[in-house]
Symmetry: none
C-alpha cells in the first residue's frame, strides 16, 4: 500500500484546524556569512521555533530544483514525482486562465521564422505590451477549426497560453517546438491513436497563425508545448477529509490550490489583507494554506535586503496567526530562492511545526542552519501533510 | 516517474567539473573512544568540511551491508536495489577478467567430493598457487563444448572465474552448488526455456572437469554460481551527460567504473600516482571518480593504526584536489569497514560536499559523529549523484 493510500484510509474528519504558512522561496545561501533568514530579525518566528519541532524539507528529493507546481503539490500531500503537471496547465494556472473539462491548454511562445528555420524561439523576448496586441489580433482573426474554438492569453514577454475548446481533444501530443534554434518548424504528432484529430486541429491552427503573422517578421510564428487538460487530482477533501481554503494573491498559487480542491478566498494585495482574510474566515474551514509571495520575488530579483525585509514583515504577522490558536501551525516554504542565485534552487526548506503535541527541540532560531538540528530531521516535503494531520488528531492508528 | 528518469531528463551538459573521492571503507567504530577517522589527524579534510555541507549516507538502506558492487553503483547514481550485479560478473570484474558480449561468467569454487557428497565446498581453502596450477592444467585440457569455449581464471584460495564464450548463451541458470556440505553435487537447471542448451553445456563442463580432477582428491570437483552476462547499464553519459573518468588501481573498481561507462585512466600503485593522474587528465573529463583502497584493506585486516595512517595519507593529498578547483568536490566512501569488525558494515558513510553553492553547516571536523550534525542529514547514497549534478549546475528545474 502506498503512503498516500495509508494516510487516506487513516484520516478522519475532526473540528481541529491546521494553518500552513508558505513563505515562498524562503531558504537562502549565505551572503557575507548570513542567509536572508539569518540576517532578518524574526523574534516571532524564533519564539515559535523554540516551542516547535523543526526540520528541513526537500521539495522533491535531494538535488532537484522544483517549479512551483511540484513544490506545492508536495506540501499539499501529493507525491510530486507521481502527479506531473504539464507546462500548459501550469502556465494557464499562472496566468489565471480558466481551464474547463473540454479545454486543452498549451504553453506558447512567439518565435521568429526565417528561410524555413526557427531562428529565435523567443522572438527576441518582445515586450509584454506587444505580446498583448498580437494575442488580441489573433483572437479576433482566428476561426473555429473543426468545431474547436481557440483563444490565446498573453503572458510575459514572448509567452502565452493557447486554449483549445472542443469535444474529445487529447493531450497526447508531441511539442510543436524544435527545442533548438536554426531548425525547421515542427508540427505536433499524435502520441496515441485517439489524438490524431486533435493533432490535425492544432497543426491547422499553427499554419493559420503563421499565415496571420506574416506582417510581423520578428514574431511570425508560434511554438506550442506541454499540451494538457485540467488534471484530475483527488481533492484534499477526498483524500484527507479536509475542508481547505487558500489565501494567496498570485494566479499560480490560487490555481494550484484549486487543483487540490481548496476554496480560494478573496484577499487583497498586501500581507495585512492576507492575514485579515485568515482571521475573517477562520471559523469556516479546517485547513488554511496561506501564501506569501514577496520572499520569492525578492530572491528572484537577487535582492538580499528586500528578501530580508519581506521575511521581517511576514514575521510581524506571526502573532496574529498564533492568536487564532490553530491546532497545528506550520511555517515553511515550497522551495528555496537564494538571492545569491536569483532563482529557485534545490536547497531544502526550513520547516517548523507548532502544536500541543509537537516535540520542542533545541532550535530557538528559525533558520536554515538551526533547522538542520531539529527533531524532524531532513525529510521529503510530501510527508508534511501526514505529519500535520497527525498533530491535528486527524489520523487513526495504523494496524492494531 | 522514478527519480533516475527525472534526473536523466533534467540533466544537461556543461563544462563544470565534479570530483568524487571515495576513501573505501572509511567509516569505522570507536576503539578506545575513537574511530579511525577521529583518531587520524586530518587538517585538510577538516578545513574542507568547515566550508562544506556534510551528512551521512546509507549505501543501500539502513542496516544493509553492501558489497563493493551495490555500494559503488549507488554512489554513481544507480539504484542499488534495482541493478543487481550477479556474483559471476562481480568476481570477473574483481579479477580483471575481460567480459565480452558472447561471454557468460560464473563464480567458481574448487571443492572436495567424497562418496558422491560435497564434503568441503572450499576444498580446505587451498593456497592460491595451487589454484593457479589447477586452472592452468584445466585450461590446457578443456575442449570446446558444442562450440562454446571455456576458460578458468584463478582467484584467491579456492576461488576462480569460469568464462564460457559462445553464441546465444543464457544466464538463466540455477547454481551448480549444493549450498551446504554433505549434499550431492547438483547440476545447473535451465530457469527459462532458451537456457536449456546452455545448461547442457555447463553440465557437460562440470562432468568433464570432475573427471579431469580425479587425480587431486582434495580438489576433485568444482561448484559454479551466479551465472551472468556483462550487464547492460545505461552509461553516465547517457543518463547524466557526463564524460566520466575513473582513477583506481584495483580491478574491481576499474570494472565497476567501466560498467557505467567511465574511461579508466592508467595510474600507478600509490596515492601519489593516483592524484597525479587526476591532475594530468583534469582538463579532459567532467567527472572524476578517484578511488583509494588502502582505508578498506586496513579495515578488513582489523588494523586500526594502518587505517588511521591511510586516512592521514589521503588527507595530505586533499589540497591537490582542491587546487584543481573543481565545481563540486565530494569526499565520502562506498561503505564502512570498521577495523573492529574486520569486514564491510552497514554503518553509514561520512559525506562532504564542497561547492560554491553548498551550505556551510557547523561541521568543522570530518568524522562520523560530526557529519551526523551536517546540513545534508542522513540520506541514501544514490541521491549523491543528483546532488552533485545540482551543485555543478547540470540540472534544470523540475516542473514549472
Amino acid at each position: 500500500m502506498d503512503w498516500e493510500r495509508i494516510v487516506q484510509e487513516l484520516s478522519f474528519k475532526t473540528s481541529s484546524k491546521i494553518v500552513l504558512l508558505v513563505l515562498d522561496g524562503l531558504g537562502g545561501l549565505p551572503v557575507q556569512g548570513k542567509t536572508e533568514l539569518e540576517a532578518a530579525q524574526t523574534p516571532n518566528l524564533d519564539r515559535l521555533a523554540a516551542k516547535s519541532a523543526c526540520g528541513l524539507t526537500d521539495p522533491v528529493f535531494m538535488g532537484i530544483t522544483p517549479g512551483s507546481g511540484p513544490a506545492h503539490l508536495a506540501l499539499f500531500g501529493y507525491d510530486p514525482t507521481k502527479y506531473i503537471l504539464g507546462r500548459g496547465i501550469l502556465e494557464a494556472l499562472g496566468s489565471g486562465v480558466e481551464v474547463g473539462k473540454n479545454d486543452l491548454v498549451a504553453r506558447g511562445n512567439f518565435a521568429t521564422l526565417k528561410d524555413g528555420l526557427i531562428i529565435d524561439r523567443r522572438a527576441g523576448r518582445i515586450p509584454t505590451s506587444e505580446n498583448k496586441k498580437l494575442c488580441q489580433r489573433l483572437n479576433n482573426s482566428l476561426k473555429s477549426i473543426e468545431g474547436t474554438k481557440i483563444a490565446l492569453f498573453p503572458g510575459k514577454e514572448h509567452r502565452f497560453v493557447a486554449k483549445f475548446t472542443g469535444e474529445g481533444l487529447s493531450e497526447a501530443l508531441s511539442d510543436a517546438d524544435p527545442q533548438k534554434e536554426n531548425n525547421p518548424r515542427v508540427p505536433v504528432r499524435a502520441l496515441s491513436q485517439d489524438a490524431s484529430k486533435t493533432a490535425l486541429i492544432v497543426n491547422r491552427f499553427l499554419d493559420e497563425v503563421t499565415d496571420l503573422l506574416k506582417s510581423t517578421p520578428k514574431t511570425n510564428t508560434v511554438l506550442l508545448r506541454g499540451f494538457s487538460h485540467y488534471p484530475s487530482l483527488s481533492t484534499l477533501r477526498e483524500l484527507y477529509k479536509l475542508k481547505p481554503a487558500a489565501i494567496a494573491n498570485y494566479p499560480m498559487y490560487k490555481g494550484l490550490a484549486k487543483l487540490v480542491g481548496m476554496e480560494i478566498l478573496e484577499t487583497g494585495e498586501n500581507l495585512s489583507a492576507i492575514f485579515e482574510t485568515a482571521e475573517k474566515y477562520y471559523k469556516d474551514y479546517d485547513f488554511f494554506y496561506v501564501h506569501v509571495k514577496k520572499t520569492d520575488s525578492a530572491g528572484e530579483d537577487g535582492d538580499f535586503e528586500a528578501k530580508k525585509d519581506a521575511i521581517e514583515e511576514a514575521d510581524s504577522y506571526i502573532p496574529r496567526l498564533v492568536a487564532l490558536q490553530p491546532d497545528v501551525l506550520v511555517v515553511s516554504s515550497d522551495h528555496s530562492t537564494p538571492s545569491l542565485l536569483k532563482t529557485h534552487s534545490w536547497h531544502p526548506n526550513p520547516f517548523l511545526l507548532y502544536s500541543k503535541t509537537s516535540f520542542p527541540d533545541n532550535v530557538t532560531r528559525f533558520s536554515e542552519k538551526e533547522c538542520c538540528f531539529g527533531y524532524l530531521g531532513r525529510f521529503q516535503a510530501m510527508h508534511a501533510m501526514p505529519l500535520m494531520l497527525a498533530h491535528a488528531g486527524k489520523l487513526k492508528k495504523f494496524g492494531a
